[in-house]
Every structure is written in structure tokens, then in C-alpha cells.
Symmetry: C2
Subunit: 168 residues, 2 copies
């Protein structure tokens, strides 16, 4: 149910588009159930979702687990006091923020994003969560682009994903 | 559970921050349940959520209703063929997009966003949904800033929200 879109966002990139999975009621429900099954016995206190596609299944997971949901966002989006973490991109760098009071020290955290590519974004989110005193129990994705090797950035964590692509 | 943040995003604006509601497991669950109760008997086919905070409860609603979820996003974010709709802001204009194939003509749609302010964004999303052939059955928000009068843009629809602010 994941659509392949060639040359997006730029020439030579095969984009894996989950919107076709989201709009289909069966695959949408089954994906949520599978992510929930991964995490339901881990005594998680909060789910953290990464802006913005990570908010979709991140919010659903928190709701299904009956726990709170926390946002990691681009700079300037969160209104109260934040912690921030910069990370390298192919060209230049980017920054993520989390509300300082969003995590209680010792909280057991599930981090969710839709896509594991090089892993820079999710790794920065892990660093933010740990700065805030959280304990990362699981990092979950819909898609892993395994040929980019992003998983190496998460050797200390349990990483789960629904689908793996071994080549572009 | 909604936090007041003065002077965000600019001086003189009182920002209503739902992140404190999201991180609290009881208010997060109760909010989702209340939105679900509004919509469960309306025979809705798909939920449409607006980028990006609309993805949180939008996704949860679609999951609880057992139906598909569709994204309305800023330009250039959706990879396949899109429909687009521009709308006026206080200064200048902005544009929203939806995937052309995301809605089957005749689909009964619930549109969700977190905040109803002047209503420009949600109104543009309604126009997009109708361009794609959808029938809007309900428009739901967490917060309505009633003093901005945004509800007037939705006279043809059933509008629901959890919390109303009558003044800044």
C-alpha cells in the first residue's frame, strides 16, 4: 500500500509515499495494530512523535496505549520553554525542539517517526528526550531505508519498523 | 489542561497551547473520546487532517472510526498529483494541497484541525475536499476562538469543538 513516487523531492530519489496506506482503512488499521503490538507490553509512559508525519501514528499509539503524547518540532513552533538539539544534514544543519516540561525525568518513552533514512532526525530526537530526562524504550518507524544505514545510530535502542527497503 | 502562553507567536497574542493537554494521559484520552462521540454515528468514510497539529487527533479519530485518513498539507509536501487552494491571510496569502486521488467522489468526510481562529485555513481545506468530490459531514476542532468569528465561514456544515474562548 506504499506508493513509489520517482524523482521526489528531487531527481533520482524514489519517494516512498505512505498517504496511500493512510487512506486505505484496512492497511491503516493493520499498521496501527502492528505498531501497537510491538509496544503494548513495554510499560511505556509517553509517546514522542516527530513533526509532522510522526504525529499520525505517534498520536494513535499514545491513544491506544492510554498514555500522553509529546511533540518534537522544528524551531519556533513550540510556544513555551524548550530544549533544542542541532544535527547535520547532507548540506548544512537543522534543529529540533521539545518542551522542557513535556517529559518527567524517568519517563519510559516510545519515539515514533514515519521514516528511518539516515537517522539524523530521529537521533537528534533521542538526544532531546534524554536531555529532558526520558528513558528511550523503543524507537518505531513505518519504513526503514536500510541501504542508508540509519539503524547504526540507534545501537543502544530497540528499533522496530513495519517495512524495510533494501535498495532504492 | 490548555496552557496560556502570552505574546506567542508575536506580542499581544495569547497562544492557547494544547501540548499540555496532549501530554496528560487523562485529558488526552478524554479529548479523543469526546471528538469520537461527536462523529461515531455519522457514517463517515474518511477523516481529513490539516498539517500539522490536525494530524494528531485527526489520525486518532480515523483509527477509532476504523476508516482511512487523508492529509491536507502546505505546498510541495505531497509527492503525487495534487489539487490546490489558495486563501487570504492577514498579510498576503497561503496555499493548501490535497492528493487528487485521496478522496473517492461521494466520500463522507470529517475535517479536523486543532484550532478554529479566523477559519481561513479550514475553509480552504473544505473547498479542496469538495473539489476532490468529497461531502463534508462534520468539521471538528479542539479550540474555537469565538471572538474571531471564524465559524461564519462554515454555515453549511456541522461544526464541533471541545473548548470555546470568548475573548483573548
Amino acid at each position: 500500500m506504499i506508493r513509489n513516487v520517482p524523482d521526489f523531492p528531487k531527481k533520482g530519489i524514489m519517494f516512498r509515499d505512505i498517504t496511500t496506506l493512510l487512506k486505505d482503512q484496512d492497511s491503516f488499521r493493520k499498521s496501527a495494530d502492528a505498531l501497537y503490538d510491538f509496544s503494548k507490553d513495554l510499560h511505556i509512559d509517553k509517546v514522542v512523535g516527530i513533526d509532522s508525519r510522526g504525529f499520525i501514528f505517534g498520536g494513535i499509539l499514545a491513544n491506544k496505549l492510554g498514555i500522553g503524547f509529546v511533540l518534537v518540532r522544528k524551531p519556533g513552533k513550540l510556544p513555551a520553554e524548550t530544549l533544542s538539539q542541532s544535527y547535520s544534514l547532507e548540506y548544512g544543519e537543522d534543529t529540533l525542539e521539545i518542551h522542557k516540561d513535556s517529559i518527567t525525568p524517568g519517563d519510559r518513552i516510545l519515539l515514533h517517526d514515519d521514516l528511518l533514512a539516515t537517522g539524523g532526525t530521529a537521533r537528534a530526537a533521542c538526544d532531546l528526550i534524554e536531555k529532558a530526562g526520558g528513558i528511550i524504550v523503543q524507537v518505531s518507524f513505518i519504513i526503514e531505508l536500510a541501504f542508508l544505514g540509519g539503524k547504526d545510530k540507534f545501537k543502544d535502542y530497540v528499533v522496530n519498523r513495519l517495512v524495510t527497503y533494501d535498495s532504492e
